[in-house]
């Protein structure tokens, strides 16, 4: 059995630091156990693609860009007019779609191994992100459920607001440890706890290659 190794293994361990005023205002969590596929829909084949996707997961392709829709454990975000990111707890449906989708309809590319997912939550989450992200993350401009492709400390990341005071960033794996160092340092004035969130172990699923 191959053992999966986190890109943050060297930096993420339980613990944290107190902030300037004492206490820990933030929770920085590495979220494990999720899957991502990039879907591309060829222009004339949208209905065919949509049908296959619905049959496999019940999910719909969203109309609006960067505002995800959720169905059961699937979440879809339209990232360009023709491309979507499909997040799910298992990749079984993704692998099936890749196998069964007629090549003329579109493509499926698995991306879960190449991204690290970090959640930053707490009253000062926005202040920490503002140290590196040029976007306006105020509630008036960036609501829960909204997402964006943006830059954070010289790194291209996918950002999603998951709660009033919670954001998740998906960072390319090779940059993740470096960005994590930056992030915990940026969070230092507010104090933080470090956590790892991983799903309970399940039986070996031959199609799921990340715990």
């Amino acid at each position: 059995m191959f053992e999966w190794h986190s890109a943050l293994a060297g930096g993420v361990s339980a613990g944290g630091r107190d902030g300037v005023r004492g206490g820990r205002q933030l929770r920085l969590t590495e979220v494990r156990g999720w899957h991502l596929a990039q879907l591309a829909v060829f222009a004339q084949q949208q209905s065919e693609f949509q049908e296959r996707l619905r049959a496999l997961s019940g999910a719909q392709l969203p109309e609006e860009l960067y505002r995800g829709v959720t169905h059961n454990d699937s979440r879809l975000v339209r990232i360009t007019p023709q491309q979507y990111w499909w997040f799910a707890a298992s990749n079984a449906s993704m692998v099936r779609l890749a196998r069964e989708l007629p090549p003329s309809a579109g493509t499926v590319t698995l991306l879960s191994a190449g991204r690290v997912r970090v959640r930053i939550a707490g009253p000062n989450a926005r202040d920490v992100l503002a140290k590196g992200i040029p976007l306006d993350l105020h509630t008036k401009a960036f609501q829960v459920g909204q997402s964006a492709q943006t830059g954070l400390h010289h790194t291209g990341v996918f950002l999603e607001r998951v709660a009033d005071d919670g954001y998740e960033i998906y960072v390319p794996r090779s940059y993740a440890a470096w960005l994590w160092e930056w992030l915990i340092d940026a969070a230092l004035p507010f104090g933080y706890d470090i956590m790892v969130e991983a799903p309970a172990p399940t039986s070996n699923n031959s199609e799921s290659h990340q715990p």
Partner: protein, 989 residues
């Protein structure tokens, strides 16, 4: 606590229950919370605050704010030493250690003051005229001496242990300046619900109101406005924050200083934070700065702006003088004089105007001011502190002396137009107030208060509220009604007459720019020498080029130039203001982008394993890669040769995860590949990989790599590490612009897959041992074969291809399983003696095989230059084909790829060495250069790849490799670039 002789027993905005101890050159002094370093020094009766830039004249404080030209101190110690800090804006804190600057051995006893004696030699352009000869380059010789003699504080080389940050902020309305206009603007905008950021450089809100007595109506007004703002939830107040610059799109750069003078970096406290603020609208309420007057020796300690003396008295409870002369050309100074008189001083007002308003006469009577109208100060008397002045009637030569211990001056007020000009809006002159006001502003920018020449308090507040409303409306917020100002506001008039020019022919110097030591005589000399444009004059005399950016000198200088040239003031022009408005530390601009965080660092999925197993890492572009491993040697020179030997004789394992990887899918995938590669890809069978080369539009080589076909419409492209992003952009660009009709998707999967190369004569046996379920025979997986499989539930992609020239395979698994597969291979093939090898050996093995890589693929070479011309298909079109045939690219004398073998035992070849034909003089750019070099375990010699004029037409020729940096000239022979197994037998076993 030391006694503070100049401190009043009551009044001011200082906290007498918060005494603070500080030092000046080690001398223990005390002040109070709420003091600036300047007010605390003045309270301690310290007036000599530095020596001037060029003449080393004794200097005192001129101002009480950001415009201060003289009172620059070096603060802190060790790595925290910061030079050139204006004491007038440095909040006092417990333990502050300050040093005065530019005195040798000390500011009190300065030997360099001798410069004052040779002052006639040191006029405008002195350095340019004197130090240009006798030879070209003489300046280089003199410069260190000049820099040591002149100048301000010294920078240091020690690391600054403090923390600095940068961040972004967004707002509907930014209000710059929290004086009465800014407070009113922020309140009006905030009331509409707009997100307002109010920026104030001071620790307190109020601006000019802070210089009024605390028992006056202005103070209750200030407090009421402050409270109102604090109750508006959408208003954010940034105190101790300076707007440094205005940029396109209404973007502002701000710097915020720490509340605590000694922030603790270990707890995340920053000394300074630079903020990029993006508001939809801006209200500039930046206020105005008082101008000095020009008269002889106007720089003596104790000559100060009238508003500054008032500020020290009312805000800091420091009475600097007991006999005060206030020299002016405007009304405002009379009110400062009245305050100073109320503080207990004997005050004489000297106004150049023949007639003044009756209200001023009345004020003078009430405040017991002695008044001299139609009179000017011609000279300040005293050396280390002012002891008197000479006065003369404006139309008479006769002078008389009046004793004083403080000389206040007011030459009128200039709007702080700096920020509004950063975007290119030239300030315009208004003769009624003898000042420049902002020129035409960009959309979404509004003005309020003194910056636009509005000096009456009631006008300022009403105008501020209006500007705030307009800004909010611009940002899309509804304003119910224009705000009204209910409070009765004490107004004072402001009338001004242009200041008289200094009298000529008198002894002494009239300084225009105190900080750069520029006198009125320097200005006239420069104009006479032809530097007539204000911009030229500025550069020639250095006027306005100090850390204060000429805040007190600009208008006076323009006035002088206009006078000398017989022009009106607007015709004489202004200088260009540029960011930053006030000095900012480099640390703050860098923020936390320092050290390892200066630029991104990418880590391979195997990084943690490399670190734990004795790899020495090296930066390769953004990547940190395993350079060599300790098992092979302690230094790279010994280790890489051992690692090469391992691969040539047994089997080695190398991390190639950094290679660019692109998922190419879709019905038209083959078509895309066939168009971007020079060689054919249309007929590549499923289960096979092919080496391909791509060209730029101009026919230079873009990149090479291998693309494998795993299904009819599914390909896996690899690129070089260096060009991966470039290739991805290239493909995206073509698909989105030129070939939108192709149904194909490209997705970067570089981070998705961990890659490793297993290479060496025992590579197949090793894989058979490690992955027993799979057939690695030549028949099942021939050279350039590929396949997908599943190992323990994990997808595995195998490509049989070789970079080293040995039997080799590349294996790819999802990145999180990279270490697991790597360890499985090392453990499984341990009986064969498998070992990891690093980047140095990887690169050296390819040189022996004659494969080109990043060093040769530099976007300057053609296919033929690199010996790859025969790969190009003659049957099809591909990117770059049309431009391949340009004469410049087909010239047989182009520098092209050769192999080189060292002919001198004991000597070595070096990368970058310049190549010359034997016997020709070793000058100039030669006939080519070495791109890659290694020790060859096959040849037992140094070998290299290089580019040489005419390339392999020179086969067998002896040449010279010159390396001037080390003075080495080594003989070498031009040979084939393939040093090993030219027929490729090792690949096909």
């Amino acid at each position: 606590m030391s006694h503070q002789p100049r401190r009043l027993s009551s009044g001011g905005r200082i906290d007498r229950d918060g005494p603070l101890a500080f030092t000046l050159e080690g001398r223990a002094l005390s002040g109070f919370a709420g003091d600036t370093l300047a007010s605390a020094l003045l309270a301690n009766d310290i007036r000599l605050v530095g020596r001037s830039f060029k003449y080393h004249r004794p200097r005192g404080f001129v101002a009480a704010g950001v415009e201060e030209p003289n009172g620059l101190f070096t603060l802190g110690s060790g790595g925290r030493t910061t030079p050139n800090m204006a004491a007038t804006v440095t909040e006092l804190y417990e333990g502050l250690a300050a040093r005065r600057q530019n005195g040798s051995p000390s500011v009190d006893f300065d030997l360099m003051a001798i410069n004052s004696l040779i002052a006639p030699l040191l006029g405008a352009g002195f350095y340019y005229k004197t130090f240009m000869g006798p030879r070209q380059g003489s300046w280089m010789f003199y410069e260190p001496f000049i820099r040591r003699a002149a100048g301000l504080g010294r920078a240091l080389h020690e690391r600054d242990p403090d923390r600095y940050e940068t961040c972004y902020k967004h707002a509907d309305v930014a209000v710059i300046g929290a004086g009465p206009a800014g407070l009113a603007a922020a309140r009006a905008a905030g009331a509409s619900g707009a997100r307002v950021v109010l920026i104030e450089q001071d620790a307190l809100l109020g601006g000019a109101l802070l210089s009024s007595r605390t028992d006056e109506l202005q103070e209750s007004l200030r407090r009421e406005m402050e409270r109102a703002l604090e109750n508006l939830p959408s208003v954010e107040i940034l105190r101790r924050t300076t707007a440094l610059g205005l940029y396109d799109g209404n973007m502002l750069a701000l710097v915020t200083r720490a509340v605590n003078g000694q922030p603790d970096p270990d707890r995340g406290e920053s000394r300074e934070v630079v903020t990029t603020l993006c508001p939809k609208a801006i209200v500039f309420a930046t206020g105005a700065i008082e101008r000095p007057l020009l008269f002889a020796d106007n720089d003596r300690p104790g000559v100060m702006l009238a508003s500054a003396a008032r500020s020290y008295l009312n805000r800091y409870a420091v009475a600097i003088g007991r006999r005060i002369v206030v020299a002016t050309n405007n009304d405002a100074a009379w009110y400062s004089a009245a305050d100073l008189a109320r503080g207990g001083a004997e005050v004489t007002v000297v106004d150049q105007r023949l007639e003044v308003d009756a209200t001023l006469r009345q004020l003078a009577e009430q405040s017991r001011l002695t008044v001299e109208t139609g009179t000017v100060v011609t000279r300040a008397l005293g050396r280390r502190r002012v002891v008197g002045v000479r006065l003369a009637a404006v139309d008479a030569a006769r002078e008389r002396r009046v004793d004083c211990d403080l000389l206040c001056m007011s030459g009128g007020w200039s709007g702080a137009v700096h920020l509004t000009s950063h975007n290119g809006a030239k300030p315009v002159y208004r003769s009624d107030i003898d000042a420049f006001v902002p020129g035409e502003l960009a959309t979404g920018q509004f003005l309020a208060g003194a910056v636009m020449g509005s000096f009456r308090l009631s006008e300022t507040i009403a105008g501020g509220a209006q500007a705030g409303s307009n800004a909010a409306r611009h940002a899309g917020f509804a304003i119910a009604a224009n705000p009204t100002v209910a409070t009765a506001i004490p107004d004072i008039p402001y009338r001004v007459e242009p200041a008289r020019k200094p009298r000529t022919g008198l002894p002494g110097k009239a300084f225009v720019d105190f900080q750069s030591d520029v006198t009125s005589r320097d200005v006239s000399a420069a104009v006479e020498e032809g530097f007539q444009s204000v911009e030229h004059l500025k550069r020639y005399t250095t006027l306005g080029m100090g850390t204060d950016q000429g805040k007190t000198s600009n208008v006076s200088a323009v006035g002088l130039v206009a006078d000398l040239r017989g022009l009106s003031l607007p015709a004489a022009g202004t200088t260009t203001f540029r960011p930053p408005y006030t000095p900012v530390s480099v640390g703050a601009l860098a923020g936390r982008n320092i050290g390892q965080h200066f630029r991104p660092v990418r880590r391979s999925p195997l990084h943690d394993w490399h670190l734990a197993h004795g790899a020495t890492l090296i930066e390769a572009g953004p990547w940190l890669r395993a350079w060599y491993y300790r098992w092979a040697g302690d230094t790279v020179l010994s280790a890489y040769v051992e690692e090469m030997r391992q691969v040539r004789t047994k089997v080695g394992l190398s991390d190639v995860s950094t290679l660019g990887k692109i998922d190419v899918q879709g019905p038209d995938a083959a078509e895309l590949l066939n168009r971007v590669y020079v060689n054919g890809f249309a007929k590549l069978p499923v289960g096979k990989a092919r080496y391909g080369v791509m060209l730029n539009d101009d026919a230079t080589v873009l990149d090479d790599g291998t693309t494998a076909r795993f299904a009819a419409t599914k390909y896996f492209m690899t690129t070089t590490t260096a060009q991966s992003a470039e290739v991805m952009s290239h493909l995206e660009f073509l698909l989105q612009t030129a070939w939108v009709d192709l149904n194909v998707q490209v997705v970067s999967v570089t981070d998705e897959w961990a890659g490793m190369s297993i290479a060496g004569p025992k590579a197949r046996t090793a894989l058979e041992l490690c992955l027993p379920g799979q057939d690695f025979s030549d028949a099942a997986l021939p050279h350039m074969g590929c396949r997908e499989a599943n190992v323990d539930g994990v997808p595995l992609r195998t490509l049989r291809l070789s970079f080293s020239g040995e039997l080799a395979y590349e294996l790819y698994v999802p990145a999180g399983y990279g270490i697991a597969l790597w360890e499985k291979l090392l453990a499984g093939a341990a009986p064969l003696g498998i070992r990891p090898y690093g980047l140095e050996a990887l690169a050296s093995l390819r040189i022996e095989k004659g494969h080109v890589a990043g060093l040769e693929l530099d976007h300057r070479n053609t296919l033929d230059d690199l010996g790859l011309g025969r790969m190009a298909s003659k049957e099809k079109a591909y990117v770059g084909r049309e431009l391949r045939d340009r004469p410049g690219l087909t010239d047989p004398q182009r520098w092209s790829l050769v192999g080189l073998e060292c002919l001198e035992p004991g000597s070595r070849l070096r990368g970058g060495a310049i190549l010359f034909a034997s016997g020709e003089p070793l000058v100039g750019h030669g006939r080519g250069y070495i791109t890659s070099v290694t020790w060859s375990t096959e040849r037992n010699n140094y070998i290299a790849l290089g580019l040489y004029k005419g390339g392999l037409a020179n086969l067998g020729r002896e040449i010279v490799c010159a390396y001037p940096l080390k003075g080495e000239n080594v003989r070498a022979r031009i040979v084939s670039p393939v040093f090993l197994d030219a027929p490729g037998e090792r690949l096909h076993v």
